[in-house]
């Protein structure tokens, strides 16, 4: 039987718990992406706080704490078959123990690779994210491949602890919000359109001028620049906006 969950992390952990505790599943899928078919039967799993906690503890105890981190990153990835990879990964862990030490095994390689990709994107956004000053509130628009808002929030919360800020993921309509006191993630239904102050434009102009001046003409290498800053990210990066 296929298990369908609501797309949340808690939902996924609940589905995994039912799989290991009660009945083996033929596959875990998100509810709204599921294609019903003639052959397979399905069951909708309701997120359950207690089951989810227990599953997390189970993974930490039987495999390792770092395995839980790998699984969490895989959950945040855009990878289509991630639930399947996670199942295989845990299955192997139950047999072999701390398999985070294993890289090239067929049941760990997909998770390791996804983890590397998500980590790389997380790290990248610590740098390429751009804030605009919206009358005292800093606002950033991002469109990352993977769902990384909650991964990057702690870094910015510490860095800008005396500012109010919003990081808005316009692919997922999801925002990380910090109000000088605490941060949280929330869903937002529409895009932000707002006028920024004159001062904002001046600093943008200054930054763009700096960006041009710092380049050395004799070493021009646009190919390398594209490798570091892929085209898909450029629409949100101040200095690449014409």
């Amino acid at each position: 039987m296929d298990y369908l969950y609501d797309g949340t992390y808690k939902g996924l952990m609940t589905a995994l718990y039912i799989n290991y505790k009660y009945k083996k599943t033929t596959g875990i899928f998100t509810k709204n992406l599921y294609q019903k078919s003639m052959i397979s039967d399905y069951k909708i799993v309701k997120s359950n706080e207690e089951f989810s906690k227990k599953m997390e503890e189970f993974i930490s105890d039987v495999i390792s704490k770092s395995a839980l981190k790998l699984i969490y990153y895989a959950y945040l990835s855009k990878e289509a078959n991630k639930e399947d990879f996670i199942l295989k990964f845990i299955d192997l862990g139950l047999k072999k123990g701390n398999i985070t030490q294993l890289y090239s095994h067929e049941d760990t390689l997909p998770i390791q690779k996804i983890y590397d990709k998500v980590s790389k994107e997380k790290h990248r956004f610590l740098g390429i994210l751009r804030f605009k000053d919206l009358n005292g509130i800093l606002f950033a628009n991002i469109s990352p491949d993977n769902d990384i808002v909650e991964l990057i929030m702690p870094h910015f919360v510490d860095r800008f602890k005396s500012e109010n800020f919003i990081i808005f993921d316009d692919k997922r309509f999801k925002a990380g919000i910090y109000n000088k006191n605490q941060w949280y993630i929330t869903n937002i239904n529409e895009k932000f359109y707002s006028k920024f102050s004159d001062v904002e434009e001046k600093y943008e102009a200054m930054w763009k001028e700096y960006f041009k001046s710092i380049s050395i003409e004799d070493r021009k290498n646009l190919k390398s620049q594209f490798q570091f800053v892929p085209a898909r990210y450029r629409k949100n990066i101040t200095e690449f906006i014409k």
């Binding site: 072999k96 398999i99 030490q101 294993l102 890289y103 090239s104 095994h105 390689l109 790290h123 610590l126 740098g127 390429i128 994210l129 751009r130 804030f131 605009k132 000053d133 800093l138 950033a140 870094h155 910015f156 510490d158 860095r159 800008f160 602890k161 005396s162 500012e163 001046k202 600093y203 102009a205 200054m206 930054w207 001028e209 700096y210 960006f211 001046s213 710092i214 380049s215 050395i216 003409e217 004799d218 070493r219 021009k220 290498n221 646009l222 190919k223 390398s224 620049q225 490798q227 570091f228 800053v229 990066i237 101040t238 200095e239």
Partner: protein, 409 residues
């Protein structure tokens, strides 16, 4: 604002030939109002030359009392001159940082009036940034040779990293091109700063004082290709600096002729980028692969081969050590195999505890088999397909290169 933009343009122009832009080496939580620092460093963007931009890299001033032949800011050069006020620097850094354009500041300067006068102004800028704006982000400062020792110490408690550029690796070249600089007035402050860093570390471990002295250490830079100095001379100098003064990094900068002068390469000479690349590879081998300069070059073999990288060259010259068995040899030895780096070597060592490693696994672990296959065995089997002979391997590697170049057309 207009005026400020044109100043920024001039003073960024003057700073851009300094290569270092890294923001790594300190992990620090936000201790002020704004800013923290991450040990791995963060690149914020990349300019059209493909170089990472992490820090706002500017000069305090490009007014210079000196006339170093290779330098764009030398006083005989007819260029626009400008100077920042300390408050201006601090404000721009703060506003750029708030928007997450940058990871911090890299403040350098031409020698305006006197070394102490220049360093005072740098110091003032840092004080405004640290105390008025509560800035807890990364600061890299250029050390101005001949600055008084007390002033240098003061800077050391405000900045994360300091660099004094050697620029040229021999007394002879310095005398020729930068007669105001001497090995002594470059190396002595490096030595003093290193002593202070060590003392501060010791104090911190004993008393947990919160004041840190240059927590991200010192770096330096050398120009490549402005003089006759060999790669061996450059790399030996680097090795010495790492050994004696615990430098965090040495940067290499392919010389771009900015002046017509009989002592220097002609203005239209292409910068030796390939040579610079080989030096960076070799430097990497010193820092992360535990190679010594003398293993890579010698009095009789003074420059790097531009066709093959330094590690392959070393392996070909020491072919009697190969092939190595990946299931047996130590981590240190794995690192000596061309095509295997620290990451893949670590993966191999971990994975060996579970299974015997097969040839198929190596590629998945990130080993570059195109090079590695000639230098290793996997469970006793050799996959190179040819005799372990340097000449034949060279020929094969060269052919791969040719194929790659042809495929561009």
């Amino acid at each position: 604002m207009e005026k400020l933009i044109s100043k920024l343009k001039i003073l960024a122009e003057g700073a851009k030939y300094d290569v270092s832009c890294s923001s790594s080496g300190v992990e620090r939580k936000n201790k002020g109002k704004i800013g923290n620092s991450r040990s791995f460093g963060i690149c914020h963007t990349w300019s059209s030359d493909g170089r990472c931009i992490s820090l706002l890299k500017v000069l305090m001033s490009n007014n210079c009392i000196y006339d170093c032949t290779y330098c764009i800011n030398r006083n005989s050069n007819d260029i626009e001159r400008a100077s920042f006020l300390p408050e201006e620097i601090a404000k721009i850094t703060y506003e750029f940082y708030r928007r997450n354009y940058i990871e911090g500041l890299f403040l350098s300067s031409a020698v305006d009036k006197t070394p102490d006068y220049t360093t005072e102004k740098i110091c003032k800028s840092l004080e405004i940034l640290r105390f008025k704006y509560g800035f807890s982000g990364y600061i890299h400062v250029k050390g101005i040779p001949n600055t008084s020792k007390d002033l240098m110490s003061k800077i050391g408690f405000l900045a994360d990293r300091l660099s004094i550029n050697i620029e040229l690796p021999s007394k002879k070249s310095l005398k020729l091109l930068a007669p105001q600089k001497s090995t002594k007035n470059l190396l002595l402050p490096m030595k003093n700063l290193n002593n202070q860093i060590m003392e501060n570390k010791e104090e911190n471990s004993r008393y947990k004082t919160s004041k840190k002295f240059l927590p991200a250490g010192q770096t330096t830079q050398m120009i490549v290709g402005a003089t006759q100095d060999s790669d061996y001379q450059l790399l030996k100098t680097s090795q010495n600096l790492y050994d004696r003064f615990n430098l965090k990094r040495v940067f290499y900068s392919a010389y771009i002729p900015v002046v017509q002068n009989s002592l220097l390469p002609a203005v239209n000479t292409k910068p030796p980028l390939k040579r610079e690349h080989r030096l960076y590879q070799a430097d990497w081998l010193l820092r992360f692969y535990k190679f010594r300069a003398d293993e890579l070059l010698s009095e009789t073999n003074r420059n790097f081969d531009l066709q093959f990288d330094p590690k392959i060259n070393w392996a070909l010259n020491n072919i009697h050590l190969f092939p190595k068995e990946v299931n047996k040899v130590s981590y240190k030895e794995l690192l000596r195999i061309p095509g295997i780096g620290p990451k893949s070597a670590q993966r191999i060592v971990k994975e060996r505890n579970f299974f015997k490693i097969k040839y198929d696994n190596l590629k998945k672990m990130g080993v570059v088999l195109k090079r590695a296959k000639y230098f290793l065995t996997c469970d006793g089997r050799y996959f190179g397909g040819i005799e372990v002979n340097p000449e034949i391997i060279k020929y094969k590697l060269g052919e791969d290169d040719k194929d790659r170049q042809l495929s561009f057309f």
